[in-house]
Symmetry: D2
Subunit: 256 residues, 4 copies
């Protein structure tokens, strides 16, 4: 099982979350690439830290929207979205290379992630950028999403992730943050849900139904109070349950 988290989400003078603490916990780091967050100096630092600790680096590509932190859907022309994604992916890969590793997967951020769950055009635009840049890179996303379907259609490996702290609708999608049941805030419950997903292969939806879910990675959030402590508890719980924690796309295999 893999544990992934969003890292490098500061910008210049502004910081967000505790990158160093999370690098010691997670196995995969979704690193912001400068369009919704992340400046070049932060990108270098996080890539170097990830390489040093054997954490895989994924390109967390987002909309060009620093003011909105990439959380507002933008009606991109698909071709321009492909180009914006490829630009971010290549830029981050540059910092990975100088750190002795490589970008080993791609995961969209924020509103692009959510849009690509259902919007075929944007999902295909993201997949196309990845396939063009490096067809061996897997795409990390929501099981059943348009993104993973489009990625598979262009020949990319797809990796499904689960969210132990988010509510699930009966159809397996996440409950919108605007609706009740969107967030699971009790740490004990989050850990229990994570184990049920990772070990048992199921999740209880907001209507009480048990849904089958097959995931290779669990997403832990890093920018809320208590996030690091919770991530640490999750790591311990998964390990104690007998799961080996490791990146689904390790970067060190790429090193000479």
């Amino acid at each position: 099982m893999d544990l992934n988290s969003d890292l490098g989400e500061g910008f210049g003078r502004w910081t967000l979350g505790d990158d160093d603490a999370l690098l010691a916990i997670v196995t995969s780091a979704n690193v912001a690439c400068g369009f919704h967050a992340g400046d070049p100096t932060t990108m270098r630092r996080v890539c170097a830290g990830a390489a040093a600790q054997g954490v895989a680096v994924g390109a967390q590509v987002g909309y060009r929207d620093l003011a909105g932190f990439g959380r507002r859907r933008i009606d991109y022309d698909p071709g321009e979205l492909t180009d914006d994604v490829l630009y971010q992916l290549a830029a981050l890969d540059g910092f990975c290379r100088v750190a002795g590793t490589r970008v080993t997967y791609v995961k969209p951020h924020g509103a692009l992630y959510n849009t690509a769950v259902r919007d075929e055009a944007q999902a295909a635009a993201v997949a196309r950028a990845v396939a063009e840049y490096d067809p061996t890179l897997p795409v990390l996303g929501l099981p059943g999403s348009a993104l993973l379907r489009c990625a598979a259609e262009v020949g990319l490996r797809t990796v499904a992730e689960g969210f132990a702290d988010r509510g699930y609708a009966p159809d397996g999608t996440l409950v919108s943050r605007r609706d009740p049941g969107a967030l699971v805030t009790d740490p004990d419950e989050v850990v229990a849900r994570a184990l049920r997903m990772a070990v048992g292969g199921e999740v209880v939806a907001v209507n009480g139904a048990s849904l089958p879910i097959a995931i290779d990675s669990l997403c832990v959030h890093g920018d809320t109070p208590g996030a690091v402590a919770l991530a640490s508890r999750l790591r311990t719980a998964l390990t104690e349950a007998g799961l080996a924690l490791a990146p689904f796309a390790p970067g060190d295999l790429l090193r000479p």
Copy 2:
């Protein structure tokens, strides 16, 4: 002899210069990388056009200053400048790769170019980024500049360029655009100066003295009225003078 020009200097809705016309004339394209000009879609288009026509692509890295078009000196921290340069270089290289070529050299833009003529810290910061990303990439710049000296010190190949339409001070630097004699506007004189530089290895400074100058590339500007026609005349004149025009760092050698 190489002919280089700044290309891809539009941004979104805004265009600047005639990229397609210049790609048919020059042998090396200094392509803007998104910080002072250049958006991902423009970068892709110019890289594809350059690859198709055998024009070498150089990363024209600049300050992060769209509003000032990179023409205002910024007192960067050297480490941050290195990171901003590496980011731009890697991003452009991504579009070259999908076009079947590679970035084959680096040339700073605008105020960064001018600053790196004398400012050791910024010159070294640029050189460091290039050396880290790919130590086989040459740096294109002004003969005698701190930039070429710093590039050589870290083991990079250096390539000297001349400006047929700019006035030279007796010390071989360019006359500031704020001072008289900065620009040579008569097309006949520009062509004559180009030939004298490229063939004769000398340039007449503003004080009338003849200076020796050894260049491997001539820079032609593309964003002024009549620029394309002048570039075309220069190409013809150099060819008729017996000079073979070719990139100093051809991208097609890199293709399988």
Copy 3:
């Protein structure tokens, strides 16, 4: 009758359209405020020119999206949209004040204009910003749009505009630029449609039906080839048809 056009749409080194030529033709200038286009120096220049020629200045507020020129819908939080609009409006008003005039109306730009035709939340967010800043400012928009309805609801004066070079759907909205019939390109036809709208109070829709349309302003575009010549023809034709051309919200009334 008023003639309005988008002006000040350059940014830094990049220019778009011929502001000076259009200032001699139109009676109202929709001036970009820096979020989708327009830099402070351009804003000052256009405001000064408008004031000198008795052209009214409107704030052409847009999404924060320089790379997309404000032409991509963004799913703003309504409160943040209100704040972004108010910021732009106040900034432009500063340049009007130093030019001896004032912003005298507001017209959204691009995707914000189109979104505010039907999206009640974004339309209301724009109207709220205007009402907060200065409840005497009229809003210029499409007849029947959510924008004009929301503006009226908060007590603002509304002004309806027509587009002689755009196709109309049978319901009085504009045909999407993606669909056939979106643009009327023949200059003679544009002039004929302008006269029919302005004098006859009707427009022929794409299905051939004649629609009643009551407008106080005609929008002329300035950033296409031949745009200035067409705007000039429109002005002459309207004048010869006996219409007095004047701003619907003149700025000179505000001067001491």
Copy 4:
């Protein structure tokens, strides 16, 4: 005596300092205007809070450099700097107006502040923007700076401020942050220096000499650990020393 502090220095998702806590302590708030920090929603919130508590709002204008937080000197063309300052000032004033107050002074931020200590062209550019926008607005700055001299020359009121936590050179300028003695970190010493400046009219320079200093405002920083507690201590100490704390340019005098 006035206590001023930089507020509203977040941007979108990113926050910096504790605006609410500082609004309860200081008498004047230097509010970021969107170019180096500060988004419209933050500006509205801080202006509303300041108006509600009788804290004066100053426009903290800065370079257009979000990535550098306005802390890197930029070689602006003076005319463009004037325009950028006027834009920011007018935008912030819009949020003050809707909060029932007005911008009542101007203080440059970061590298612009430091540059305007000695650079006549940039100092004059800032002063010109203020004088054009509203010649009754005072400028807050370093005693003896080019900024205050240029402001006085165009007829503006000038207000001198002191920094209790910064080292002073023998000529009355601040010790550069790069040099030893730049920062005074011991809270007791900061309070003692503040009292000596505010009550005694002198400051001890890094060479041990006592310099006369006449200030109307003390600047307290808000974005470091312990900053709010220290600001609170300063307020108490000054009050207990018999100084009445009040804005030098109160906004409530402007309200009807």
